[in-house]
């Protein structure tokens, strides 16, 4: 089933996904997010912890008068936590949620560059056996010899917040 889906989307995936991506690092892995989703990139600032939230939701920050939640992408992906340093960044993305669009900050190890990835160079996510692991991945972008994991921000971040909301209810 998974293979079938993957096969079917080989052609369509590339074409729709072509465009500019902001790439960043988490450990040794490189990720990319659709540049149109990114609102801004800011350095780490003091985060106010919010109680009764999952561990990966680090809290809230003041983004020019707006209070927005920040989540640690490492923790969200189940990677080892890491001390924040001066390379650590918060990528502020605007995602679609049940109550309209919301802004959320994602903590990443470092931001690298904006890449234009062509449709031919984007492959569907590999099949790791379970659907859950790839559902937030749009595709794999090949740039030179490297592979960037292109994330579906609405899923990654939206899911984080959604899950939390469900937990509360």
């Amino acid at each position: 089933m998974a293979a079938e889906v993957a096969e079917k989307s080989v052609d369509s995936v590339g074409g729709d996904l072509a465009g500019k991506y902001l790439t960043f690092n988490l450990g040794s892995e490189e990720y990319g997010v659709d540049i149109m989703k990114v609102r801004e990139i800011i350095g780490v600032m003091e985060i106010t912890a919010v109680p009764h939230t999952p561990e990966y939701i680090k809290g809230v920050i003041n983004l020019r008068g707006r209070v927005i939640p920040v989540l640690d992408l490492r923790l969200s992906f189940g990677l080892e936590p890491r001390e924040y340093d001066d390379r650590t960044c918060i990528i502020v993305v605007e995602v679609v949620s049940g109550n309209g669009n919301i802004m959320i900050g994602m903590l990443v190890d470092s931001v690298s560059e904006v890449l234009n990835i062509e449709g031919d160079n984007i492959e569907p996510p590999p099949d790791f056996g379970t659907a859950a692991e790839t559902e937030s991945i749009l595709g794999m972008g090949k740039v030179k010899e490297e592979v960037k994991i292109l994330l579906d921000v609405d899923r990654v971040v939206g899911r984080g917040v959604m899950e939390h909301l469900e937990q509360v209810q």
């Binding site: 106010t48 919010v50 109680p51 008068g65 209070v67 909301l165 509360v168």
Partner: protein
């Protein structure tokens, strides 16, 4: 099916509410009623309720006639309409079968018609064409072309513009009544019609164009002194304005809900009316010419060829046409009551919120710059002076930005006039309403929420407070009871007082009832004031006995809840035999709260000041544990259970020893809790913000931006108290926390303590 029924019932309820609100001369509510009725007709049809549909339809027709001021918008007529709504409600309950109700319905409608006719001299039968039409009727066949729906932006602009123009026309017409013959005002009426005509022609809205055009022609005659701007012209301009408004609003509905909603109004009646008035002017100015030819030639001159309806030549003889229109007995024209004071513009709420946010941010940034270590080390008098100036400007800016969201409470108060009048009528009591401080401003967002509690309290005051006239006479009071409604600002709060000079609360009865219900003990020494305030307790409200005896307390807990939701407070002071004063205290705005900033470890939280009773450092002898685990403090003779905030929020505190920390005693929904914190940092007015996508977090009501730019969390005390109570049942959740002394609050003890204390 049941869902649809519920929908219909809700519509009927809404209608009933509207009819309650409506006041003679205030046709805007009637307009809303029309919309509701139309929706009802449709729903009833779709739901297979032919009887209801039929009734609703005839109801709608009558309301439409009201709009056209063919029927008096009198109290009696509205009462009849109200009765008919209850008939429809009943019908709905009986499953669309209620012949008796139907009879009542028809009788009521007939009564209305008779009533209106008797107040209006019978018009000359031959003057038919000079009569204003019944309002535009909808033509059954759809218009041939709806190409104006194609350019939505343009159409939307047109609708907005038209409605604005119509408003200005109305205002100007009213002004003209005071200054007849003022050419400037006539021009001000003429121009918007011209614009509407032009744009509607461009959009191919032939109906609107035709109507605007013929009115423009009439006004042109007035402008050129061909005829006088008399009451007749004013009447026709107002009516045409109403009709155009209706069409514009229909266009908007069509835009929002689809083309099928578009109604092709038949405006020929209006056009004929306008023309006949115009023709009549020609008659009076030129007695030689035959009226018919004059009119026809006038029509020929006017380029109304775009009109889908051929304009029939008026058949009425000249004498009949020039007869003054017998409209005098028919109430005032549906002119808006609002007088425009100063120019206003409409602003998108989002933009306004953006401004308020930006200004808030500016204030914070300013503080940060000023407190910057390097900057504050500069000892320059000029800099200090400049900072002072900057501070003044930003404060002013913030105040202005905030005030933009404020509206006077007048409108809400004015609705009470009607309410008191209705209630007096219903109960046979006589009450005067005295209003003060209608200018007092209130946050726009609060206006709607305060309305219901206010109605409830007004009702209470008239219904239960003011006595019957004969009883008042016997007591030596004036026969007319007085209910005063006051609003004023005091200490950062807006206060609304409702005072009556009625019988007051029966404090002794309340006391007895409270003892009966175990709320207080026989031996308790509770002040009269505290006893009186028990009427706001749930459970007290529904107690019929106390209502019968004391005459108060119907659903007052609802009022209390509604007010507390707005972070306000209610209070009652009463003197037996003299009357009572109900006081509502509300924050000036929903966007800002007054809070105490507390520190727990490295985190800071804000506790709303309004809920705080006191704060102190506990001593070992007032600290009690209950069953070895529940913690409580003896506060003024009451046991108040302790909430260790660090434990609840799972943060690291400076100290875990309660005697080295500070407790803040808070009150939420009648329950008290002692919140344990490390330190009080100060008092600050904070702007409430939501936490982005995070919501419904236990114990957190929202966030705010503190002086240093960081986010602080605002405590939700109701949530905190509730979560704490749940923890008692299931306290396994908090076992994980480092501290061994689990905080299982002594709920039993808490409840045993007198709830009225404090």
């Amino acid at each position: 099916m049941a869902e649809k029924m519920a929908l219909i019932e809700k519509m009927l309820d809404d209608m009933a509410l509207k009819i309650m609100m409506v006041e003679p001369g205030d046709l805007s509510v009637v307009g809303e009623l029309v919309t509701l009725v139309e929706a009802l007709v449709e729903k009833a049809g779709a739901n297979g309720m032919p009887v209801l549909q039929r009734l609703a339809r005839s109801f709608g027709e009558v309301v439409n006639r009201l709009v056209m001021t063919e029927l008096d918008d009198s109290q009696e007529n509205f009462d009849l309409l109200g009765q008919n709504i209850s008939v429809m409600q009943e019908l709905c309950r009986k499953g669309d079968n209620d012949p008796e109700g139907e009879k009542t319905f028809t009788t009521n409608l007939a009564a209305m018609q008779v009533g209106s006719k008797s107040s209006e001299p019978t018009p000359a039968p031959s003057a038919a064409s000079a009569e204003p039409p019944d309002g535009p009727t909808v033509l059954s066949e759809p218009p041939e072309s709806l190409d104006f729906m194609e350019d939505m932006d343009l159409l939307n602009g047109f609708i907005e513009e038209t409605l604005e123009h119509l408003e200005s026309i109305e205002v100007n017409v009213l002004e003209l009544e005071d200054n007849p013959g003022d050419l400037e005002i006539i021009n001000n009426i003429f121009r918007p019609f011209h614009t509407i005509k032009g744009v509607s022609g461009f959009l191919n809205l032939t109906n609107v164009q035709t109507l605007a055009h013929s009115t423009e022609n009439l006004l042109d005659d007035v402008r050129n002194n061909k005829r006088a701007m008399d009451s007749e012209v004013i009447e026709v301009v107002l009516k045409v304005g109403d009709c155009l408004k209706l069409m514009a609003e229909n266009l908007r509905t069509a835009m929002d809900e689809g083309v099928e909603q578009y109604k092709n109004y038949d405006i020929s009646g209006y056009v004929n009316w306008v023309k006949s008035i115009q023709g009549q002017a020609e008659v009076s100015s030129d007695t030689v010419a035959a009226p018919e030819t004059t009119v026809v030639s006038k029509t020929a001159k006017a380029p109304v060829s775009a009109a889908p309806q051929a304009v029939p030549p008026p058949t009425a003889p000249a004498a009949a046409v020039s007869a003054p229109k017998p409209k005098t007995g028919n109430g005032p024209a549906p002119a808006p009551k609002k007088a425009r004071v100063g120019a206003t513009i409409k602003v998108d709420v989002d933009k306004l919120d953006g401004l308020v946010n930006a200004v808030g941010e500016l204030v914070i940034m300013q503080t940060m710059v000023r407190e910057n270590a390097l900057v504050s080390s500069i000892a320059d008098p000029k800099l200090n002076k400049d900072f002072g100036q900057l501070f003044r400007i930003t404060t002013e800016l913030q105040k202005t930005a905030m005030s933009m969201r404020m509206v006077p409470i007048r409108q809400t108060f004015q609705k009470m006039i009607r309410l008191v009048r209705d209630l007096s009528k219903k109960t046979g009591k006589q009450a005067n309403l005295v209003m003060e401080g209608e200018e007092t401003e209130i946050d726009r967002n609060m206006v709607d929420s305060i309305y219901d509690p206010l109605v409830h309290m007004m009702r209470n005051s008239v219904d239960h407070g003011v006595q019957m006239p004969d009883e008042r006479e016997r007591l030596g009071k004036p026969i007319f009871g007085t209910v005063s409604l006051r609003a004023y600002q005091k200490g950062g709060y807006m206060v609304i007082e409702i005072e009556d000079d009625g019988q007051g609360l029966n404090t002794q009865k309340i006391r007895r009832k409270a003892i009966e219900r175990g709320i207080i003990q026989e031996s308790d020494n509770v002040s009269d004031h505290d006893l009186n305030n028990l009427v706001f307790m749930a459970g007290f409200s529904t107690a019929d006995k106390i209502t019968d005896v004391s005459g108060r307390g119907v659903g007052m807990d609802v009022v209390k809840k509604a007010v507390e939701k707005l972070r306000g407070k209610v209070d009652v002071a009463s003197e037996p035999g003299k009357g009572s004063i109900f006081t509502i205290r509300l924050p000036l705005t929903l966007a800002i709260i007054d809070g105490i900033i507390v520190r727990v470890g490295t985190e800071r939280y804000i506790i709303p000041t309004i809920a705080i009773r006191e704060s102190f450092r506990p001593t070992p002898d007032c600290y009690k544990t209950v069953r070895g685990k529940g913690e409580a403090l003896m506060v003024r003779g009451n046991l108040v259970s302790v909430v260790r905030l660090y434990q609840f929020f799972n943060v690291k505190p400076s100290t875990k020893d309660i005697c080295e920390s500070i407790v803040v005693v808070v009150d939420s929904e009648g329950k008290q809790r002692a919140i344990m914190v490390d330190e009080l940092l100060g008092k600050q007015e904070v702007v409430i913000k939501n936490l982005g996508g995070l919501s419904d977090i236990d114990g957190v009501a929202g966030g705010t931006i503190l002086g240093d730019g960081r986010v602080g969390l605002i405590l939700d005390l109701a949530g905190l108290v509730m979560a704490q109570t749940t923890c008692d049942v299931d306290n396994t959740e908090i076992v994980e926390s480092a501290d061994n002394k689990r905080d299982a609050a002594g709920t039993d003890e808490q409840q045993a303590a007198p709830a009225v204390a404090g």
